[in-house]
């Protein structure tokens, strides 16, 4: 097991800047998720760690060893590709045995290890089949088996669950997490699904357009997003954003949007006002309450549409010509067009600089 360090790593394909100045430290045995929208450079990062791509700039270290220039076969990494990339002409057994055969491991040793991995992943009865005769979930296990059989120092997983159906995905999520904790392999897990990242990873590196946005444990990412991108990317339904100005009137601070004025807690207002006046306020759908009569410091709106989710409902509320989403328990009947008031949990609202998108508080 090793620590993995990416030190100012960039990768350019001609004019395309796939990864820009990425710094990441991944602890020994840690499970880190690389999270970001499609095309943000996650796969490229993974392939650099694997040694398929050479970084344009920067260094990659395993423990203290600089592996930047080492070919894949000298790095002892295991990787599961998004497409699984099973060798179509080989049986499941041969697929899993392939890395060991290349290492010239003795035949009976190979047999023992393949069977051991097959047992761990519960694919023993599939060993004689060809990849084309397997379901998506089975292929995924075989790919995982092939990556694990050589007892890698680092395990790289590129969206391993994205080709599975929703139900299987939930099952495999838990299994992968258990397996990782059991084997204690340093793992980098690429996904564009924030739920996957939040539920599995010890730490999450959020990327956008080739740049690292924030690198933190899931709860911190959720409660203290570093910028607008992270705030909007983490959480479903996403955080609501409203533009407005911070104004000081008689020693009291107000958030003044086009459609409403909200009095802020004094300390918070002071901090924001000391930085900027043009802000974007953000609040999560679960951090606001819908009330049916006017109270001080609430926001007036009209019910636009209600989306039932089973246990909860999402109420879309029109404030002026903006729509915000509120997550709440089903209660009083809400009909489209009805007048309601929103009471925000003032301790859980976020403010971002409008210019840079950076979080203020």
């Amino acid at each position: 097991m090793v620590k993995v360090i990416l030190d100012n790593v960039s990768k350019f394909f001609g004019k395309v800047k796939a990864v820009i100045d990425l710094n990441l430290r991944i602890g020994d045995g840690e499970f880190v998720a690389l999270l970001g929208p499609s095309g943000c450079g996650k796969t490229t990062t993974l392939l650099m760690v694997a040694g398929i791509y050479k970084p344009t700039k920067g260094k990659i270290l395993f423990d203290d060893k600089d592996v930047t220039k080492l070919p894949p076969r000298d790095r002892n990494v295991g990787m599961v590709f998004q497409s699984y990339a099973l060798y179509p002409h080989m049986s499941v057994y041969d697929n899993i045995a392939f890395p060991l055969r290349l290492k010239k491991v003795p035949r009976n040793e190979i047999d023992r290890k393949v069977k051991q991995v097959a047992k761990l992943l519960r694919i023993e009865e599939l060993l004689h089949r060809k990849p084309s005769q397997l379901s998506g979930g089975q292929q995924q296990r075989v790919a995982l088996g092939r990556a694990l059989v050589k007892e890698p120092d680092v395990l790289l997983l590129d969206e391993p669950l994205s080709n599975l159906d929703a139900k299987l995905r939930v099952v495999m999520r838990a299994e992968l997490k258990r397996l990782q904790k059991e084997l204690k392999i340093t793992t980098i897990y690429v996904t564009h699904d924030q739920v996957e990242a939040m539920s599995m990873a010890d730490r999450i590196a959020v990327m956008n357009a080739g740049k690292l946005q924030q690198y933190a444990p899931p709860t911190e990412l959720y409660n203290k997003p570093a910028n607008l991108f992270v705030a909007g990317f983490i959480g479903a339904p996403p955080m609501n954003f409203i533009e407005g100005l911070i104004k000081e009137i008689n020693g009291e601070y107000y958030f003044d949007s086009e459609y409403f004025k909200l009095k802020l807690v004094n300390e918070i207002g002071e901090i924001i006002a000391s930085k900027t006046s043009e802000t974007i306020m953000g609040f999560r759908p679960e951090n606001a309450k819908i009330i049916l009569e006017e109270k001080p410091n609430t926001i007036q709106g009209k019910v636009y549409v209600v989306e039932p989710l089973g246990k909860d409902i999402i109420v879309n509320i029109k404030i002026g010509d903006m729509i915000v989403k509120i997550l709440t328990r089903p209660g009083a009947e809400l009909t489209p067009g009805q007048n309601i008031w929103l009471q925000l949990d003032m301790k859980k609202i976020h403010f971002f600089e409008k210019q840079t998108g950076k979080a203020i508080i």
Partner: protein, 327 residues
């Protein structure tokens, strides 16, 4: 719609032009060859024969096959030997050397532009009209003015090893025959192979790299096994076209003009079976159409037997299972 065509008819209507072509250009000639092979048709009885075409008056005979199988035509054995050398050697170039070259060009050469230039350079003989290709070779091998001997001398080949004439001195003439056909034929295999190599998903190659394979091991354990199907196709196709192709031999050894090519080709030992058959039918003083048909018929049968053998060797049934290259 006034016109209603049933679903069963529709495919046949679309297929009709193709089927007509196959019937007229392929099935009919084969049937005609079979029929003529059992007759003694020649220029001497041509008019009689036309008059009696497909009636019981036509003299049906096994004479032609007796001539072939009981060595009554002494040249048959030599033609067979030359054909075997020709097909095996050129096939090695077209199917196996082309495979090595394709892997080199499409996998080992990472630069797309270089790779494309190399591929195009192998395509040049194919986009050239055949007669020009043959003429270029004729100039190239000319002992006095040609470049070939000069180049070989330059490369350090001793003068004593160079032939007086590449065209006429037997082992050299056969080498020439193999190279001329190999070069033009290799491009076909290369097109098929390079396309197939490029269609192997990069993920699979990358997976093998991560699993610890060297480039050579990837070629051997991943690329070649995945090219089984294209290989079967190229080998079968090339076998059939080699068995029946004599046009470059005819163009190069017959470039002197007239009907003299038959004698020259025999002397140079480049008289392959198909050319022999052609010469029996069309060379001066011969015009033995019946015998030529019988010779061709043998070729058709040999071709079919070889194809069946290949399919057996490659495990056609396994190839047909849906586990070829998947994306």
């Amino acid at each position: 719609m006034a016109l209603k065509i049933s679903r069963k008819m529709l495919p046949w209507i679309f297929l009709a032009p193709m089927l007509m072509m196959i019937i007229f250009s392929w099935i009919a000639p084969v049937l005609l060859t079979v029929y003529l092979g059992f007759t003694d048709l020649s220029s001497k009885n041509f008019l009689d024969f036309i008059r009696n075409f497909f009636t019981e008056n036509v003299h049906l005979t096994l004479e032609n096959f007796e001539k072939i199988f009981f060595a009554k035509d002494p040249y048959v054995v030599e033609a067979l030997t030359i054909t075997a050398i020709y097909v095996v050697s050129v096939l090695s170039i077209n199917a196996i050397f082309a495979l090595v070259l394709s892997i080199a060009i499409a996998y080992f050469v990472r630069n797309e532009i270089v790779s494309m230039l190399l591929r195009v350079s192998w395509l040049i003989p194919r986009i050239m009209p055949g007669i020009i290709y043959a003429l270029v070779w004729n100039w190239f091998i000319d002992p006095k003015y040609g470049l070939l001997n000069t180049l070989l001398k330059f490369a350090g080949v001793p003068e004593a090893l160079l032939p007086e004439s590449w065209l006429l001195s037997p082992p050299y003439s056969q080498i020439l025959m193999i190279v001329v056909n190999g070069y033009v034929g290799a491009s076909f295999g290369m097109i098929i192979y390079t396309a197939a190599i490029k269609s192997i998903p990069t993920d699979i190659i990358n997976a093998a790299l991560v699993d610890g394979a060297s480039d050579f091991q990837i070629a051997r354990h991943i690329i070649v096994p995945l090219l089984k199907w294209p290989m079967l196709f190229v080998i079968s196709w090339q076998t059939l076209s080699l068995l029946s192709s004599y046009e470059y031999i005819l163009m190069i050894w017959g470039s002197g003009g007239g009907g003299g090519y038959a004698g020259i080709a025999r002397a140079a030992k480049v008289m392959v079976w198909s050319l022999y058959s052609y010469s029996k039918a069309f060379a001066a003083e011969e015009h033995l159409y019946g015998y030529a048909s019988a010779l061709s018929l043998i070729l058709v049968i040999v071709g079919v037997v070889l194809i069946i053998t290949y399919f057996k060797i490659f495990g056609f049934r396994r190839l047909m299972e849906p586990s070829r290259i998947e994306v």
